[in-house]
Structure formats: C-alpha cells, structure tokens
Symmetry: C2
Subunit: 255 residues, 2 copies
C-alpha cells in the first residue's frame, strides 16, 4: 500500500521501516521538525515536508504517529477528503478522527519502541479499530503484513490496556532506573542486576504475578522492611513508594 507517515518519532520510525521492509511504499514523511523529518525520510528513501499543506494526496493510508496531545491541533489543518486516516495511539479514542475524516481507524502496536533497538514486529500484538467493516479489512491486511497477532479492539478497551502497559512497562522501567540510582550511590554497577531483571520477567511469563512474588513484603518481614525504610531516609520519595507498594503487596497476599 502507499503510505504517508505523519510523524517522525520512535513509533513512526519503527513502523515506517517495518512497513517499507514488507514491501509497502512510504510516499512521504511529515514532521514539524525538519531535521527529524529528514532523518526518517533518508532511512525510508522518500521525500519529506514540514508543511501540512504540502502533504501528498496520493496515498492509500495516512498514518498519524505524533505526540498524543498534538493530534487535535493537526487534524483540522489537513484536507483528508475520503482518504483512510489512522492513528497509532493507545490512549486516544478513535472518535477524535470522526469530525475531520470520512474513513478512519486505529492501528495500535502494543510494544515499547526506543531509538536504536530493533523490534521483531511478527511478535507484536496489534490492536485495530475502524469506522466501517470495509476499512477494518484494509487495516487488518496492513497489520497482518507486519504481525500474525492482530486483534480488533474498541477504544475503551484499548485505553485500558494502554493504562496497564504504563504500569507493566513505563513504571517498571523507572524502577530499573531507581535500582540503578541506589546501586550507583554505593559505587556498584547496574550490570549486576541484569540476571535478576531477566529472571523476574521470564518467571512472570512462565508462571503468574501471584506465584512469582518474592521479597520482604510478601513474607511480611517487618525487620527487613524497617531496615530498608531507614536506608531510604535520604530519599523521602522512594521511602514513600517503598511503604505504599509493600503495603499493597501485603494486602494483595492476604486477600
């Protein structure tokens, strides 16, 4: 299919490269930042623009992957006519597209994308939604060309899985950062945590969060928890987090 990429961030970059590798034609990249647009357009060997009124009308699909809070500013600036317009955001209802487009939908890759870390798209769950069965079929074909895990999902449930992902991915990564910070204060390298991080993830994959829980809170080991809280005296924010999460683990275990 002939695709116009609206955006040049991590999601646009990973999706653009994967779509191109699967034989789709990326016709144009738009981004408000010329440098970002150019970097991605060079990777995809296609032209780019920073002007909304220079966006090509020659594409089958317009894929919007920009900051969630800038979509509403962009949408009215472009004459979409009957083109199929998709956004890729977990947190935004499909209906945001309705006032501006006749044909629209969502293509949500349920994965975390960072610069420089290639993703095996075949294993990425895609959640799709559309305003019509015909458009859903087109989006399904597009998603199936990237992954064998494509599922239709309404906006409410997509927003719910996005929220769950904030806890299981974004917050988890910040906890890796907290651990690195605490180790760094004792001059210990983050490296030593890696086998534990991998085993923690692998264990929950093969078992469940309930059967995988270990540590002082699940044992209700007050002596250790008190010691840890004392060690966090110079980090009031971490001390508070430690107390709240430990309390929640204890409560979850009791119920």
């Amino acid at each position: 299919m002939r695709i116009c990429l609206i955006g040049s961030g991590n999601v646009a970059t990973h999706l653009g490269i994967a779509l191109s590798e699967k034989g789709h034609q990326i016709v144009q990249v738009w981004s408000p930042t010329a440098k970002h647009a150019e970097i991605l357009a060079t990777k995809l060997n296609c032209p780019f623009t920073t002007q909304t009124d220079s966006i090509t009308l020659e594409c089958d699909i317009y894929l919007i992957s920009i900051k969630d809070n800038t979509i509403t500013t962009l949408l009215p600036e472009i004459k979409w006519k009957n083109k199929l317009v998709l956004h890729t955001a977990g947190s935004i209802s499909m209906e945001i597209l309705a006032p501006y487009c006749q044909n629209f939908g969502v293509l949500y890759p349920f994965q975390t994308f960072s610069a420089g870390k290639k993703i095996d798209f075949d294993q990425v769950p895609f959640y799709i939604e559309s305003n019509s069965p015909q458009n859903l079929e087109v989006i399904n074909r597009l998603a199936q060309s990237l992954s064998h895990r494509v599922t239709p999902l309404d906006s409410t449930r997509r927003q719910q899985i996005h929220l769950a992902a904030v806890f299981a991915c974004n917050f988890v990564n910040h906890f890796y950062a907290i651990a690195k910070e605490l180790l760094g204060e004792s001059g210990i390298d983050f490296e030593i945590l890696k086998p534990l991080i991998l085993e923690t993830a692998n264990k929950v994959i093969s078992q469940s969060p309930e059967s995988s829980q270990t540590g002082p809170a699940i044992r209700n080991d007050k002596v250790v928890m008190e010691k840890h809280l004392a060690m966090l005296n110079s980090h009031p924010d971490l001390k508070e987090l430690y107390e709240q999460i430990s309390k929640r683990i204890i409560q979850t275990h009791i119920h």
Copy 2:
C-alpha cells in the same frame, strides 16, 4: 562438601538441589515444619529433623536459609562449635552470626527463587563474605562449584544491592500484578502483556534505564496522564502511585 541445610523454603530448596547436583552431600535438612522438611529431604534423598538438638554435628558447612527475622531466634539454640555457619540473606549483616559461631560467613545468591521454576545457577551472581580469609576461600570454592560469578562483598554493600533488588524485582513483579488486575477488570487476559514485559526487560539489558524510558510521563503528556488518573478514580492507591511515579519520571528526565 558435607552440608546441613537449615531451612526448607525457596532458597534452601533451589540451593540444596543445585549443590546436590554438583556432587556435594546434603547430610540433613532441618525445618520447624515437618512437612516442609520432609518434602525437601525427599528431593535430596537425605534425613530431616524438626528439632534443633537433633541437628547433626557431622557437616563441613551449615547453610541457614530461613526467614530473615527468625535467624536470631534459631542461632542461640544450636551449639555450632567450630563449624562453618553461613546465612544466605541479602538484608542481614554477617555480624549477626559472630556471638554464636567461631567460623562464619555469607553466601548470597542474587536471584529470585520461586517454587517450580528452575534456575540456571551458573548465571547467578553470588556475593560472599567471611570472618577470615581461610573461611572465605572455603565459601568461594563452594560458590564457584555453582556459578562462575562469585564476588566478595561486605555486609553494607550487600544490603544496598538487596534494597535495589526489591525495586527491580519484587516491586516490578507487583507492577505486573497491578497490570493484570487492571486488564482483568476489562475482561482482558494477562497473556497480551507478555511481549511488552519481555521487551521492557530486554531493552534495559541491551541499553540503559535512561534511554529505555517511554510513556506519557517522559513525554510530559498531561492530557494522557489526566485521562489515566481519571480511569483510576476507583483505585485511590493506584492513582497515588501513578501520580508519584510519573512525577519522578518527569523530574529525572529534566535533571
């Protein structure tokens, strides 16, 4: 070496089986709970006891893997004489053993152990400590028979890495549990999160927590964060966690 296992929980079980597989002789298992002692002793094909005064005096090493807060109760009950007594706890100073033992130390496997999930001990970092260079050499030989990643570490720094592990492992696992809870409320299976959980761990292994951070907080996307907080209205504890962690991610990113 001839080893007596004091304890029958996850650490004692995994260590006991691994030591036995490496040719060490587990001579006896002690646990206050007869059923637990019997289960582990059966696996190790050795006798067990629930009485501290029936603990054999025939071993080279006594490995204490019991709840952190019960070690101080157990220690005075046994005449350790000149036997080498080790505990396996991250959070407990080695000096807790000093009033009761002549030869003592720590063998701390830096990993999370759950029933039914076998561990490749060769990849597990072991942190060891002892009251004398001679004993340290014995503990080093014991640890090296299980893993090629053995490092001497003092009690203060061992307690610091244990605290970091609570964030990177125990709290991370609870966040998997929170995500499962949120998905369950929409009738969505935890299964769909698994590719994201694995990629989040793999990304921090190959990159760093800083370059791996994604999500609404690092983008300072207030619209999405407000929406998520509203979705968490019926979970005041999760709402508070969401706010605190997002705030911390934003601050970390600014500095």
